[in-house]
Subunit: 149 residues, 2 copies
């Protein structure tokens, strides 16, 4: 399976899948199409041998700090978890962020998502802090940071 | 009232207000803190004479098209509507986008939001098209474009 850049045309198939991947939750408000239109260079999809979506990652370069890049959203098909697809996508993002001169990557996850926390630590992220109401009322977040290179 | 750039510290007060401004709807999924952290240079707030939030605009420069800038989210306090605050924020965004070499500004709104459609037309936006399921299943959008200068 080859990683390729996300395109606007991927949006429909991604948003159609992630609702199922997240147990029927409506993910669209968190993942509007804009990320597939304006941040293609740091966003990726992985299709399986049959052309079905296996995993994707949506990230961007910070426009406030030239040293930073940010990963907004990552999904792996439930039946493809444990194969290292998430790691491949993160490592591709790290490479491309570094090529753009970025030295730091940040992302956040929910404190209840223990699998996500373990995954990020295994990838070399450190926990900066756990921030109360970070993404709105009741939306606490674990803040991760990783230094590149 | 002076327009100033949005800062991460504005996030809590904005997200606390917009829920009320949108009739109690939970807006946080559409407006995560990342926009206040990484896109400050093209995002703005307007406080009233008492330091209360009167309006805000969240935008960014496209990283896929060097000619484009995008407006993601705009809110005006219900009691301050009709005073031209939204227009002031858009015009400030147009100026800053043009300074960054952008010639085109895009944004989207819901087809049922007639006030928003009229507002964008009054600001010189043209309707490119109405796109079915643009931001996910059942999330049709009117696509606006404005050429700067």
């Amino acid at each position: 399976m080859e990683i390729r850049h996300a395109e606007p045309a991927d949006y429909g198939r991604v948003i159609g899948r992630v609702n199922a991947w997240w147990g029927g939750r409506d993910m669209a408000p968190m993942l509007p199409r804009l990320f597939f239109v304006h941040f293609e260079a740091t966003s990726y999809v992985l299709d399986d041998e049959d052309g079905q979506l296996a995993a994707f990652l949506i990230g961007f370069l910070s426009q406030a700090d030239d040293d930073e890049a940010y990963i907004h959203f990552v999904g792996v098909a439930p039946e493809r978890r444990g194969e290292g697809l998430g790691r491949r996508l993160y490592e591709r993002f790290f490479d491309d962020a570094a090529e753009h001169g970025r030295t730091t990557v940040r992302c956040v996850t929910s404190p209840v998502n223990e699998a996500s926390i373990a995954f990020h630590k295994a990838l070399g992220f450190e926990v900066e802090k756990v921030a109360h109401d970070y993404d709105g009322p009741g939306e606490d977040r674990v803040l991760f940071v990783k230094r590149l290179g």
